[in-house]
Amino acid sequence: MMTVKDRTQAAYALEADRLTKSYGAQKALDGVSLKLEAGLIHGLLGRNGAGKTTLMSIATAQLFATSGEVRIFGQQPYENREALSKICFIKESQRYPDMFHVEDVLATARALYPNWDEALAGELVESFRLPRRKKIKGFSRGMLSSVGIVVGLSSRAELTLFDEPYLGLDAVARSLFYDRLIEDYAEHPRTVVLSTHLIDEVSRLLEAIHVIDGGRLLLSEDAESLRSRAYRVSGSAAKVDAVTAGRRVLRRETIGGSAVASVLAGEPGENGIGRAREAGLEAEPLPLQQLIVDLTAHAARGKEESA
């Protein structure tokens, strides 16, 4: 029975609670707890093999967790048609039957997604120049990515997850994707998850950042707050060290008497960039891509050292 409470708008599109997935001794996910606020564009970021796909597969009931729980708009997704009808998961490794053409994919999607927009799908197929007469079996990596983007955007699903959506796409097609995503998301707000290791081009689209590494959640935070506390400073090594003292330095490199340091400050409000500039140093926000590199390289090193 549905209760009144179930019908109210859930604050979170996805909630994971101590989610673990083991393959023998190997842990693809290791106790990940995470909440994705509804109505935002989220970035699920991390290196290849970090556990991003595993997390999304469990969230969309395509894989069972070894332990822990997951909820989609407040409901557990397994054998739950209502919850699953709200999700569109565009997998990087999506396979199609050998005989399928683009039209067959669209027909399947049309039947699957209640908010499907046929006109948008047609438009996108044209924009991405997908051949309608060719079998999908013969598609290039980029064309397969385009098929996923067409389905993902046209599904208008309340929760749309894209796993590495732009593999093989050229710069023109990628910018087409961002444009259409922004436009459609502005007109039809919903929750979007972009899972990727190619970050810089989308970094300003993301409103919340979640970083996974080695099956663990390293970070889950509002993008603007993260931007304000992740920065890099450069200048004379002594000044750099003075300004970064007592802060979490992700990376420090020196050349001659100069140093560059990447900092992840504890508090968003501390204005580290301003302080560094006042001290005569150069300072700028750490680009998200670099933050992830510094953060995950750091974690990998830490693990080796403690092993």
Partner: protein, 122 residues
């Protein structure tokens, strides 16, 4: 319009400043219609919510105003008000860094004034 250079401030503030720039240099005239937030979002590759936040900042300051169902427009007197505000910020934003660099290079204030007199003509 120009590229969005990331100077460390929140993106919505930088967007608001871009719109201000366009008003100050006249490319966005008073009573003229501002681009939609979706358009801003696409142009700068940012989230539409962030673009809307930047636009709303200017609405709150009375620089832009909303015509229901049509869009955003530049308020009358917006240009003069923005220029007045920027004149106030001029010392902080331009003169202070100039003095700091001059000091580093051993250019005293007399010499600096002479350079400005000489090169700044015309």
């Amino acid at each position: 319009m120009s590229f969005l250079k990331d100077d460390g401030r929140p993106i919505f503030q930088q967007i608001a400043e871009k719109i201000e720039d366009d008003i100050v240099d006249g490319s966005l005239p008073e009573e003229g219609q501002a681009p939609s937030t979706t358009h801003f979002a696409q142009f700068y590759g940012i989230n539409p919510a962030t673009a809307a936040k930047g636009v709303n900042l200017l609405v709150d300051q009375g620089i832009l105003y909303k015509k229901r169902g049509i869009g955003m427009f530049v308020a009358e007197g917006a240009r003069e008000r923005l220029m007045e505000r920027r004149r106030e910020q001029f010392y902080e934003q331009y003169v202070v860094p100039l003095l700091r660099e001059a000091e580093k290079l051993g250019i005293d204030s007399g010499r600096l004034a002479a350079i400005i007199q000489e090169k700044g003509r015309g």
